[in-house]
């Protein structure tokens, strides 16, 4: 069973690798500048070619190459998701570990804070915060990262409570290990699996949030491409230029679908009990 990968998961991993490759190699893969405008070439359909270049997926309302913008958009999407998941994982896991280690008032305070954060719908919290601070790449990462940590905290807290009671933690304590060492060397590796499961499902959400906020004009700012902002611009031309919304949306959908499928697969591995579910 273990060690062997089913064909399904291989396809998913290959697609995910393809997205990473597209994002990382956007400079090489795109043969047009994603920012270069050409008023003569506005809203050209997919497959248009000129004497000098071709537009495989057509052009947008400012005559920019859609394929190039989608490739660079993948970069924005993945960068925001990776960075913001890292921030929230770090913050959330640390708070959960501390709450689980100290218990008592620390735990009550931290977990009440978690409950409160979870009472504000995430997308609204992000919209409000980005709007207050003004949009931008760094703001986006920090806002998503600092609003999405509570789920990690819940998991880290519950897992830590379980792990600290195990005999080997007591043994490590008696062997003279300090609390920091025990937390990082002995407890963290034991709770990493469930945290990764949360991280994967959050990764999919972050991609959707980035696109959503960019769609609303609160994410990646023009002229830099993001799938969400390409679609926001394309929405006005939906009757004349369907490709502006269909292609970036499809890329977004497939990426999120792959991440979700990967997350399901990972959860089955980490928590075999949920397999039958």
């Amino acid at each position: 069973m273990s060690g062997r990968l089913s064909p399904g998961i291989i396809v998913i991993l290959a697609l995910l690798a393809g997205f990473v490759f597209a994002a990382a190699g956007a400079d090489l893969l795109a043969h047009n500048d994603p920012l270069r405008q050409s008023l003569l070439m506005r809203l050209r359909p997919p497959g248009t070619s000129t004497a000098t270049t071709s537009y495989l997926l057509g052009t947008d309302d400012l005559g920019r190459d859609l394929l190039a913008r989608i490739l660079y958009g993948a970069r924005a999407s993945l960068m925001v998701a990776i960075l913001s998941v890292s921030v929230s994982l770090l913050v959330g896991a640390m708070l959960g570990l501390l709450a689980g280690w100290f218990r008592g008032w620390t735990a009550i305070l931290v977990m009440r804070f978690v409950d409160t954060m979870l009472s504000i719908p995430a997308i609204l919290l992000a919209v409000l915060t980005v709007a207050v601070l003004g949009p931008g790449f760094l703001t986006l990462v920090l806002v998503l990262g600092l609003t999405r940590w509570p789920r990690y905290t819940r998991v880290a807290y519950a897992q830590t409570l379980q792990v600290v009671t195990l005999p080997y933690i007591r043994a490590a304590e008696m062997a003279g290990c300090g609390p920091v060492r025990i937390l990082l060397r002995h407890i963290l590796p034991n709770i990493a699996g469930p945290l990764m499961v949360v991280a994967t499902s959050e990764f999919g959400l972050m991609i959707l949030f980035e696109a959503g906020l960019s769609f609303l004009g609160l994410g990646v700012q023009p002229p830099y491409p993001s799938w969400g902002s390409i679609m926001a611009a394309g929405r006005q031309y939906v009757q004349r230029a369907w490709w502006l919304t269909v292609f970036p949306g499809a890329a977004l959908f497939v990426l999120v679908l792959c991440v979700n499928l990967f997350g399901d697969w990972l959860r089955d591995r980490v928590d075999p009990q949920s397999r039958s579910r």
């Binding site: 009440r112 804070f113 409950d115 409160t116 954060m117 009472s119 504000i120 719908p121 995430a122 997308i123 609204l124 919290l125 919209v127 409000l128 915060t129 709007a131 207050v132 601070l133 003004g134 999919g204 959707l208 696109a211 959503g212 769609f215 609303l216 004009g217 609160l218 969400g228 679609m231 926001a232 394309g234 929405r235 939906v238 009757q239 369907w242 919304t245 269909v246 949306g249 499809a250 977004l252 959908f253 999120v256 679908l257 979700n260 499928l261 039958s276 579910r277």
Partner: protein, 306 residues
């Protein structure tokens, strides 16, 4: 029972208080909230006057107490952009969002619950696989994309439904589907798990041993037991639907509070945005509480444990 219920209400109050506090600090993250409230192009003197008039030059703690005091009187402030009370501006839009959320909830419940039950009852069948694919699609579809695709198909290509606005009940169809898709997936997944859980219990075998068909056992016993966890999810999903309205309302130009929030950000009318966040969060907390109470009503065993 009463004591535990009081405890739950207490928790909800603490959470509401926490939300108010978080929003208070977010509004001051930029350093000077005055700048969030003035129309663009205001002079430095106008800004300074406004800052004083709104009390933003007072110590933070004083501002905080004043903020809580205003909210306790349900005073949400005055929009400087629209020169009208914020409460009125938001209240005007609420019915539209409620209509949209109701439509989406109907879509989600109407498709998600039967799909979940079917996936559990016909486990391992082709139908289950097909439904699982459908559910996964709903879960991964960005609402703004599915919204635009719906417009392309039913609005532009087929011309069956209006592409935007809120002129008729038909206008509600596409936004409800777009908004309800994710919630539908959540319901289907949760219902499937809950029904599978119940199907494995002895009382199902016992009911069948009394001569009930599987169908009758599901209808008479399994569904009611499985409803308990699903009801909780339903209450929480209402909050998510209100929040998701921000994007869907923008796509379909639906005049609810979601569209209002985005318009108000563009117009630098942040008291309105703040009011909307507070409103949705309060509803969310309220629904949570309602779910706990509903739990106790459906399930006589539950004594609202801590």
């Amino acid at each position: 029972m009463i004591r535990q219920l009081a405890g739950r209400v207490g928790q909800a109050i603490v959470a509401t208080f926490g939300v108010l506090t978080i929003v208070f600090f977010i509004m001051r993250l930029s350093g000077d909230p005055t700048l969030l409230l003035v129309p663009e192009g205001a002079t430095a003197q106008q800004i300074a006057e406004l800052r004083h008039a709104l009390g933003f030059d007072r110590p933070l703690l004083v501002q905080y107490v004043a903020y809580l005091a205003d909210l306790a009187r349900l005073d949400l402030g005055e929009s400087l952009v629209q020169r009208a009370g914020v409460a009125g501006i938001v209240a005007e839009r609420i019915p539209y969002t409620v209509a949209l959320a109701t439509g989406a909830l109907l879509v989600a419940l109407g498709i998600g619950i039967p799909a979940g039950v079917a996936m559990a009852v016909w486990r391992g069948s082709v139908l289950e696989r097909a439904l699982a694919g459908f559910v996964l699609t709903g879960q991964s579809l960005p609402t703004f994309w599915s919204g635009i695709l719906l417009i392309l198909l039913f609005g532009v290509a087929l011309g069956w439904l209006p592409t935007s606005g809120a002129d008729s009940l038909q206008s509600l169809v596409m936004p409800s589907i777009a908004l309800g898709a994710l919630t539908m997936s959540t319901f289907a997944r949760m219902t499937r798990i809950a029904v599978l859980d119940e199907l494995s219990r002895d009382y199902v075998t016992a009911a069948r041993a009394r001569g009930l068909s599987l169908r009758a056992a599901v209808l008479r016993h399994v569904l009611r037991n499985a409803a308990i966890p699903v009801v909780t999810i339903a209450a929480l999903e209402v909050g998510n639907l209100l929040a998701g309205a921000v994007i869907v309302e923008t796509v379909f130009a639906w005049p609810g509070i979601g569209q209002l929030a985005i318009q108000s950000i563009a117009a630098r009318d942040f008291l309105v945005v703040q009011a909307i966040v507070l409103f949705v969060s309060t509803v969310y907390i309220g629904m949570n509480l309602l779910a706990d109470i509903a739990y106790a009503v459906i399930d006589p065993r539950i004594r609202l444990e801590q």
